[in-house]
C-alpha cells in the first residue's frame, strides 16, 4: 500500500474564491447545481448550500459577528474526510465503497445500487445521490489523478494554498506548526479538526477557528457499528424473546391436534358456520 495521502485545509488562509469548487466540478465533469440557475440561499455568499452528489467541494461562509468589535468572516472549504474508520464504507452492503491504496475512500459508480445506506451513515453529511447516474457519489480525492501522479484538482487550483495535499503524516506535522503559529499570534480558538482520536483520524482534516459546529462539523462523530453493537441488537433480541414468551402464554391452553382430528374439527366448524350463515 502506498503512503496514506490526504488534504489539510486551513480556514485561516481561505479567501472564499471557490476556485476549488469550480476545479472539482470541471475535472470530475459534475453538472451545475439546479441546471445552472443560481438560487440565492440568503446565507452570506454561499449559494451552493451543501456537499451533495454533484458538489464534492463546498465553500461554507461563516459570519461571526455576534460581537461586531471582533467580527470575523470565515471561509471553510469542506470536503469528504476520507476517514480511517469510515461509516459509509462500513455500512455499504454492495461493496461499492472501498479503501484505495492511498488510504482514501472511493465509491465505485458501476457497483453502487443507490440503496442510500451510506447517506445517513456518514456523520459529516457528505454523500448524496448524483442525479445523472443515480448512484451515491462524493469526493474521490481525485483518485484518477493520484494514480497518474497528479495532485487533486481542488488543491491544484487553490490560490492561497489553503488546501494542501500530500502524505497525511507530513500534513499533520505541518498543521501542528501552523496551529502553534496562529496561537502565538493570539488566535486562541484555532484548533485542528480530525486528529487520530476522531474515527481513527480524518485523512482530510482541517484547521478551524471557532467551534466545529460553526462549520457544520459534529463535535464527536461516531461510527455506525459503535451504535449497533452497543445494545441495539441485544435489546431487539430481548424484545423478540418476550414476544415468543407472550405467544407461549397466550396459546398455552392449546393441546396438540392430530391431523385427522384437525381435519374433522375444521370440517365441523365450517359446516356449523355455513349453517349459521344459511339461517341468517
Amino acid at each position: 500500500m502506498a503512503e496514506p495521502m490526504g488534504f489539510f485545509t486551513d480556514v485561516s488562509v481561505c479567501i472564499g474564491c471557490k476556485a476549488c469548487e469550480v476545479a472539482c466540478k470541471q475535472w470530475n465533469q459534475l453538472p451545475a447545481n439546479n441546471g445552472g440557475v443560481v438560487e440565492l440561499t440568503g446565507n452570506s455568499y454561499d449559494n451552493t448550500g451543501t456537499l451533495d452528489g454533484t458538489t464534492w467541494r463546498h465553500v461554507r461562509f461563516v459570519e461571526d459577528f455576534d460581537d461586531r468589535s471582533q467580527g470575523r468572516w470565515l471561509m471553510f472549504s469542506d470536503v469528504c474526510k476520507h476517514c480511517v474508520h469510515a461509516g459509509c464504507l462500513e455500512v455499504c452492503p454492495t461493496g461499492a465503497i472501498f479503501r484505495t491504496e492511498f488510504d482514501t475512500v472511493v465509491i465505485q459508480a458501476d457497483i453502487c445500487n443507490g440503496c442510500r445506506a451510506c447517506i445517513p451513515a456518514c456523520p459529516f453529511d457528505v454523500i448524496d445521490i448524483n442525479p445523472v447516474n443515480n448512484t451515491a457519489m462524493k469526493c474521490t480525492l481525485c483518485y484518477d489523478r493520484m494514480q497518474a501522479g497528479m495532485i487533486p484538482a481542488c488543491a491544484q487550483a487553490c490560490p492561497t494554498e489553503s488546501i494542501k495535499f500530500g502524505p497525511v503524516a507530513e500534513l499533520r506535522e505541518e498543521s501542528e506548526v501552523r496551529l502553534a503559529e496562529l496561537q502565538r499570534q493570539g488566535v486562541s480558538d484555532a484548533s485542528i479538526y480530525g486528529r487520530e482520536d476522531m474515527l481513527g483520524g480524518l485523512n482530510a482534516f482541517f484547521l478551524i477557528i471557532g467551534p466545529p459546529e460553526w462549520y457544520g462539523l459534529p463535535k464527536e462523530p461516531q461510527l455506525p457499528s459503535s451504535r449497533s453493537l452497543n445494545g441495539e441488537g441485544i435489546l431487539g433480541a430481548i424484545s423478540a424473546v418476550v414476544a415468543v414468551v407472550l405467544g407461549a402464554i397466550s396459546f398455552r391452553n392449546l393441546g396438540p391436534l392430530r391431523r385427522k382430528e384437525a381435519a374433522e374439527r375444521n370440517q365441523a366448524h365450517e359446516e356449523n358456520q355455513s349453517q349459521v350463515e344459511g339461517s341468517v
Binding site: 461493496g95 445517513p120 456518514c122 454523500i127 449497533s228 424484545s239 405467544g247
Partner: protein
C-alpha cells in the same frame, strides 16, 4: 447533534415496506408458535402461511423499487465483480437485513406451498395432502429457525435506523425492540381481522389469538413508552411536523382503543368487535412506523 442538510430520502416506500414485512413476520411467528403446540394445520396457521409470502413479496418489491438503480438489486447479496460469490457484512444492518429478508422469504415460500398442498391445490410427490410439513413430524424442526428469521425481520429495520447519524434515530437503541413489538401486534391483528371475516377458526384458537393480540399491543405500548423515555429531549426530533404529531397521537389512541375490544371475553358480537379492534391495531402500527421513519426526516427537509 447537528442537523443534517442532505435529505435521507427514505420515504413512503420504506415505511410501507417496514409495515408489510412486520405484519408478515408477526403472522408467521404466530403460525410457528402454533406449530410448536402441534397446531401447524390450524386455520390460523394456514392463513398466516398464505399471507406471509405475498406480504414479503410486496416488501421486497418496494425495497427494490426504492433503490436508485433497481436493476442492481442483486448487488445486495452477490459480489457483482465476483459472481456468484456472496457478499455479507454482518455488522451492517442493511447488508444482514437483506440476507435476513431473503432467508425469511425462503421459509415463507415453503410454508405457502405447504398451505396449498394441505388444501389439495398442489401435490408434489411425497409432499401431498396426507403428508404436509406443517402439523407433521418435521414441522417443529422448521418452526425453530423460522421463528428466529421472523423475529429478525421484525426488528432489523429498527436497528437500521438507530445506526445512522441522524438526530433522533441515533439517540436511542430502542427502535429495534419497539419495531419487534409493532410487528408482533400487527401480525396478530392481521390474522384476527382475516378471521373475523372468514369465521373459520375454532373458538379456543381465537381465544388464544385474542389473548396474544392483547398482550402484544400492551407490549408494544410499553416499548413505546421506553423508547420515548430513552430519547429524553431528543424526542423533539420526531415531533417535527403536524403530520408526525398527529400520527403518533392517533397511533397511541387507536392502540389504547383496541385493547378493550380485544380483551373482553367472547360473546355473540365477537367478530365485528374483534375485526374493529384488529383494524385499529393495524392502523396504529402503520402510523407508528410512519412517524418513526418520517419524523426526523421532516426536520431535515
Amino acid at each position: 447533534m447537528l442537523l443534517r442538510e442532505v435529505p435521507i430520502g427514505w420515504n413512503w416506500e420504506v415505511y410501507v415496506e417496514m409495515f408489510a414485512a412486520g405484519v408478515a413476520a408477526g403472522a408467521f411467528l404466530i403460525a410457528m408458535i402454533l406449530e410448536l403446540y402441534g397446531r401447524g394445520r390450524s386455520p390460523i396457521a394456514r392463513v398466516a402461511h398464505l399471507i406471509t409470502l405475498p406480504l414479503v413479496l410486496v416488501a421486497t418489491a418496494l425495497l427494490v423499487y426504492k433503490l436508485e438503480r433497481s436493476e442492481r438489486f442483486w448487488h445486495m447479496v452477490i459480489q457483482s465483480e465476483n459472481i456468484p460469490l456472496p457478499i455479507l457484512k454482518w455488522w451492517s444492518p442493511i447488508s444482514i437485513g437483506s440476507w435476513g429478508l431473503m432467508i425469511f422469504s425462503a421459509f415463507a415460500t415453503i410454508s405457502f406451498v405447504d398451505a396449498l398442498v394441505s388444501r389439495g391445490y398442489l401435490s408434489l410427490g411425497p409432499w401431498n395432502q396426507n403428508s404436509t410439513l406443517h402439523g407433521g413430524r418435521y414441522g417443529i424442526f422448521f418452526a425453530i429457525p423460522s421463528i428466529i428469521a421472523a423475529l429478525f425481520v421484525a426488528g432489523y429495520s429498527g436497528a437500521l435506523l438507530s445506526v445512522t447519524a441522524v438526530a433522533g434515530w441515533e439517540d436511542t437503541v430502542f427502535i429495534a425492540p419497539f419495531f419487534v413489538g409493532v410487528s408482533v401486534a400487527t401480525g396478530a391483528a392481521a390474522l384476527l381481522l382475516i378471521d373475523s371475516i372468514r369465521k373459520l377458526t375454532p373458538p379456543d384458537e381465537v381465544e388464544g389469538l385474542t389473548r396474544f393480540s392483547t398482550l402484544s399491543v400492551i407490549w408494544q405500548l410499553l416499548l413505546f413508552i421506553v423508547l420515548a423515555i430513552s430519547l429524553g429531549g431528543a424526542i423533539s426530533h420526531f415531533v417535527t411536523s403536524a403530520r408526525t404529531i398527529l400520527a403518533f397521537t392517533l397511533a397511541i389512541i387507536m392502540a389504547l382503543a383496541a385493547l378493550p375490544l380485544l380483551y373482553f371475553k367472547l360473546s355473540t358480537s365477537d367478530q365485528v368487535r374483534l375485526g374493529t379492534g384488529a383494524t385499529l391495531v393495524l392502523i396504529s402500527g402503520f402510523l407508528f412506523r410512519y412517524a418513526v421513519v418520517m419524523g426526523p426526516q421532516h426536520e431535515i427537509e
